[in-house]
Symmetry: C2
């Protein structure tokens, strides 16, 4: 059986970033840039004042005649010469002849036309940002592969890039399977339960940034399953949950194979999540990555975190596709024995010098409630672990709560 690392490597071997699209810069937030962006301007576009004050010749001192006032958006019309000065605003162009700005707080107005400098000495260049300090025209300011955050949105605007080449988000279909499932709006009768995996995995897809399509529930029935899986194969990723164990009614791998999905692996040495199945289907230009996850909610979410999320991020053009792992210190004793690598739901909290982590009480892969108390997974390789309070363990931060453990 494959290890988690081997399985992840196989998933990533089968996925390529989607073909580039051209979108409005305002729609590109969170996407990955697929071109080098070149500036068509210098920034600042002129030697600019970084403060409100008076543009002067730096060798000057004492009283000066105010020859002009330049507001933002205006340009100076007169050169500054010894004995004269121009009132200038933050961001304004420095007039010809001036080589320093004295801030307004270090001056005294004598009358409308005259001002006294209070500083005995003035340094050439003070409070001036030279033309092109931040950006130079024709220079590459953002490179292919950059993730577009708010700062990059600002830079794209600054260089007039209102449209941009990016790798698009994949479309990801989610399909739950199982005769026992009823929709969340219904009251389950004996032997039934509500479909929680569908909404949960759909939300997990939304959180990655990708387009999520919730297909609903398919019964354990060949024809229905076949039909719904077909519609799922029209997307870049199809996530199924349930129907992948060795049970008599676990039809999913068989139906997917009949639909032309080529199996890459079935089963991973992972707890929870062992029965996971992964395959790909190529039709024309489109490759669909098909992940059939176990029906138990905790298993399905762990598989999503480890494999599906990585595939989505790679399709979206990201280089870093795995969640950050970090070292944390156990807050309690913890014993764990398993012949598979284990990812145990856990609660991570801020602490110095290392964050502190405690496994949440977990009563098996069906226990979604335990996962609601968790914001991390403790990673333990197969084997017997008798860990003491204070021992260091490897953890994966889950979800955006990673920002506030």
């Amino acid at each position: 059986m494959l290890s988690v690392d081997e399985a992840l490597a196989l998933v990533l071997e089968h996925v390529e970033p989607l073909p580039s699209v051209n979108v409005s810069a305002s729609d590109a937030l969170g996407m990955v840039l697929n071109e080098d962006v070149i500036s068509d301007v210098n920034s600042p576009p002129h030697n600019k004042s970084t403060m409100d004050g008076y543009a002067v010749v730096s060798s000057d001192s004492g009283e000066l005649r105010v020859i002009e006032e330049v507001a933002a958006g205006d340009v100076p019309h007169h050169a500054v010469t010894p004995g004269s000065t121009t009132r200038i605003m933050t961001g304004s162009p420095i007039p010809e002849g001036a080589d320093a700005v004295v801030i307004v707080e270090r001056t005294e107005t004598i009358d409308g036309d005259r001002v006294r400098l209070l500083d005995p000495t003035i340094t050439a260049g003070q409070n001036i940002m030279p033309l092109g300090t931040s950006l130079r025209r024709d220079e590459v300011v953002l490179t292919r592969g950059t993730e577009i955050r708010p700062v990059e949105i600002g830079l794209l605007a600054e260089v007039g890039h209102t449209r941009v080449e990016v790798t698009p988000w994949p479309s990801v279909a989610v399909l739950s399977t199982g005769n026992e499932l009823v929709p969340p709006g219904e009251v389950p009768t004996a032997g039934h339960l509500r479909n929680s995996n569908g909404p949960m995995l759909t939300a997990a897809v939304v959180r990655t940034g990708a387009k999520a399509i919730h297909l609903g529930t398919a019964p354990d029935d060949k024809q229905a399953l076949d039909q719904m899986a077909r519609s799922g194969l029209e997307h870049d990723v199809l996530i199924l949950s349930g129907g992948v164990s060795a049970g008599l009614y676990d039809l999913v791998p068989q139906i997917l194979t009949e639909l032309g999905v080529e199996q890459v692996f079935h089963k991973v040495r992972l707890k929870p999540g062992k029965p996971m199945w992964f395959g790909v289907k190529d039709s024309g230009e489109r490759r669909t990555m098909v992940f059939a996850l176990p029906g138990n909610p905790v298993s399905s979410l762990v598989c999503f975190e480890l494999f599906v999320r990585a595939a989505i991020h790679r399709l979206a053009g990201r280089r870093q596709v795995e969640r950050v792992r970090t070292t944390a210190r156990l807050g309690i004793e913890y014993h764990q024995t398993c012949d598979r690598d284990t990812y145990h739901p856990a609660r991570l909290t801020s602490d110095a010098p290392l964050p502190r982590v405690e496994p949440v009480p977990w009563r098996g892969s069906g226990d979604l409630r335990a996962l609601a108390d968790a914001n991390a997974l403790i990673v333990l390789p197969a084997g017997d672990h008798f860990l003491a309070d204070g021992d260091e363990v490897e953890v994966i931060w889950l979800d955006e709560t990673c920002c506030r453990p």
Copy 2:
């Protein structure tokens, strides 16, 4: 002048979570729950098998007669007695009389009706999850104040909560001011530059989850500014950038005051970002929080990160509203002298045992490009700092890159 902590405390004193709304559970992702959610079911709803196998009496062994097969969604119709067994699937209800499940891999089929158990001893309760292990009917499963992540979406579905009381996202208007600004689609003439703050701050709002409304650019003209600010005051938050320095044309505080916005503070002992202005306006039921940020892009983004983001998260009902601060180790020597608290753009990278941080070369508050190389801010209190390579400093992780430093 206020310190950053004092200014933030004043902002938070003036903000309350928005009134609760009732939304479809699928729209609640990322929002904060504003009710206690009670389960209407037990989970599992019956004593359930956690494996595919045979339900048996645990004192049994050897060959057993298969009396029934129960698929997912079916219920058993016959009691299991010594010498008999029921074929059972993962998730299926345990038949009356049975108290253990033997996994299919530890059995041998003799013929259609008979099976041999390979395990010499069977433990009562093995591979059975008792009714209500994870959730009990009438029990509170999610409490008011919980942030709704994918797991919580799953739990809401499991307990049939298709609609949910949440604190909504605030609506946040963004208005750039300044005669020098042209829209990103235009080529700036002498003295002008493109409006990068508007798109950048709008994207920063989008990233918080809130509804962003980009109002565009207002010139430094009383009438135009008055009119655009009025339309901004119809939202929960109005962010302006530019026009808050001491310059002759910095009209923003004056116009806001005339529009009935009560000033809470002007200027913070902060670099970059000192000229920031904050006020509130109450009109009927709505309170608008008004942040007038400096026009320099780095200043405006730092002020957004420290103050506006916190206000948005508090409006949205979050308890934890500040970004996580962490300790990092400097990767180079770093000297910093300032009479204000300084937040220097920096690059944080993974390292053990502490992340490593380097200030990015930064040529003043107009240098958006430096910020594009940053994923963190180094926090230094006012004063002289001569820090050596390897010294520990406090950093704030910026943006979702916090998840992958």
